[in-house]
Symmetry: C2
């Protein structure tokens, strides 16, 4: 059902980073469900994490390990989220890190653990431990595609993006993979994103890049408003490119940031395009808001309205539902007569009512597309913001009603 | 699909109030779609209305007329919401009032108009005008059941409640009808409620009763989080009972308030039981909150979580989704170890993880019921609050994807 989501790209290898994938049998036998990313010494890692207060054990452990040591491994399992497992969950995440450390001669806190899958079932530590040798055996710089598959849960397609640019005449590469599907909402959802570059980046800049670009991409997508306990987006810089080191005042920073942003955006949008049951990719742009908060309040109210989402699924230009959602978004003293709503290039609402030149046929033509933009002009200020979401179909319900069976 | 919703009761007549119903053919021919309630002189009317800022034309006009004159008629049409119609919508609502005034020798502002149905299509004023004589012809005190049917939209069953009590040895009666189905959310949704009593109530007390009891009932139900532009809940007191006048310090007020509250609750819960696609009636009780706001934040986050709602639909005790929803509800500095979650009488979560004596079989037994209570203890304070909702099924999507066709 993925909306306009193509096949994986030919990933550029990131020198200094190898990926290994195993079929450990965590939830179902025979599928890729365990990924190891091995970093050469000197690689920098920065990340952003779920804002759900019930954050999962691996998120707690990854944050702790990041603050203690230079990471050498990322260890990702699908099929089990290791969330809601109390202290045992934290102990289990540590055990997995220690097992990888034993096999590789590194310290346990040099492994960053990530889990995705069902909440509230004990992590099958032995199954994961038994899968590690296979993953380590096939570590290779060109295993991005296998890793993209190895982190999927209810995703129907693997997700990846890659690019090459030159800084000061020297090649730099960026590659990334992501997974999502449901429980996706701004503040990181059952969303995992792993991006890597061979650029040499000053550590504080690396963190600021993942924070800034993660905010503009992964933190602006929503499938269903639910925020997972496990989300993480990690950015690795191996520093193996010959291009000059990137710092906050580097002349090459803008070019690099734009390339990196494109990879963030592609990976984030891919999650929406493959949202559970999605048949439409929806861009919601709110303009002329007085603040970012009110722009996002309006955008997310639309993005989470079941009535708006089912109308989009039905390709029904039911603009009354959009109007009603704007009206309940909590914006104080909204001037209804100033509000403009457009569906694609068709004016829907002007002066508090249906636009004079609107016709059902014109609205229908936009709705029949698979990529649809809803623009809301609030007429209150200068702030614009954008959120991406998908429609709500019977298949979303079916997928989530049957997830554990 | 209505969950545990029985047939209409035998309504008690409310002396001083007659109901007339017509088949005007507003949206579809042959169905009851126009209701007139005629009040004898001296009746008091108070109401609460949608908080959606795009409130519909009839809401604007009803509020204006309430402030100007003693109401003699309530005029309700289904099939068209007369919302999103700008100034023409207001003019159309006024025209309908004037038409009823012409036929009855009253002033136009003695009619309160209400509309429910599709947003953004012009109100068919002539069709409504032509239906008025039929409605007036069959005005009768015992037409509550016909009126309950005449205000339905996507409701599968009509909704009503009635009771009789004695104050100071004299009989007092309360009857009411409501409609809902979708776009239902706390601050009044496509929810219409009309309650009437023959009690004699001091006007300020009447408004405080509808505000207080509406808050505890209609403003605590949610189907899908969408707030309609048209909601209204009206309470009429005809004053024809021989029981003593009710004032704020009346010794009989508590008994009357409890009886009235039961009618409010029955009508509000009936809307949830007949929520679009509902197969379960869910009570969400949040206890030990530090404030009403945080109790409601947690309750509504659960009530609107598509993942929680689909798990309820699937009868799947997927408590991880409940836990994750509590964690994203925005309660500051939540102490995860203090949180308790119960499903019916089964402890689900204790100390940040699955309760020690929880078994899937026990959770499944609760989930298999059609009426399910989720209790969340936050361990932060003394405030308790309750919200009622339903599950999310494929049928919800189907109903809302096909509404206009």
């Amino acid at each position: 059902m993925a909306v306009g989501l193509g096949p994986l790209p030919d990933f550029h290898a990131i020198t200094g980073l190898r990926l290994g994938v195993a079929r450990a049998g965590i939830k179902k036998p025979g599928r890729r469900d365990l990924v190891v990313m091995a970093l050469e010494e000197g690689a920098q890692v920065a990340g952003i994490f779920t804002r759900n207060q019930f954050c999962a054990a691996p998120v707690l452990v990854t944050r702790e390990h990041l603050s203690q040591a230079a990471p050498r491994f990322l260890l990702i399992n699908t099929g089990n989220a290791n969330a809601g497992n109390g202290e045992q969950g934290v102990a289990d995440a540590r055990t997995c890190c220690a097992a990888l450390a034993d096999l590789t001669g590194t310290a346990p806190n040099q492994t960053l653990p990530f889990s995705t899958g069902v909440i509230g079932e004990p992590l099958p530590v032995e199954v994961i431990r038994n899968g590690l040798p296979e993953a380590l055996d096939n570590l290779a710089e060109n295993h991005w595609a296998e890793a993209a598959e190895g982190i999927m849960t209810t995703d129907t397609l693997p997700k990846g993006a890659t690019c090459r640019l030159e800084l000061d005449g020297k090649p730099v590469h960026i590659s990334g993979i992501s997974k999502g599907a449901g429980m996706i909402r701004p503040n990181m959802a059952t969303m995992l994103g792993f991006l890597a570059t061979d650029a040499d980046i000053e550590p504080a800049l690396l963190q600021s890049l993942v924070s800034e670009l993660g905010e503009q991409s992964f933190n602006r997508i929503t499938i269903d408003g639910d925020t997972s306990t496990n989300d993480a987006c990690m950015l690795v810089a191996t520093g193996r490119s010959e291009a000059p080191r990137l710092t906050a005042d580097s002349p090459h920073l803008n070019a690099f940031r734009e390339a990196l942003k494109a990879v963030f955006m592609t990976l984030a949008h891919a999650i929406v395009r493959d949202g559970e049951g999605a048949t439409k990719f929806i861009t919601i742009r709110v303009e002329q808001a007085a603040s970012t908060q009110e722009a996002l309040d309006v955008a997310y109210t639309l993005a989470h309205s079941p009535l708006v989402k089912t109308a989009l699924f039905a390709s029904d230009p039911n603009w009354g539902r959009i109007l009603a959602a704007v009206g309940r978004a909590g914006v104080p003293d909204l001037d209804l007569s100033a509000i403009e709503i457009d569906l694609g290039d068709v004016a829907l609402v002007r002066n508090g009512g249906r636009a004079a030149d609107y016709t059902e046929a014109r609205g229908q033509a936009v709705m029949d597309e698979s990529d649809i933009t809803i623009r809301v002009g609030l007429g209150r200020g200068e702030v614009n913001d954008t959120v991406w979401t998908c429609d709500l179909s019977q298949d979303y319900v079916t997928i989530n009603a049957e997830y554990r069976t």
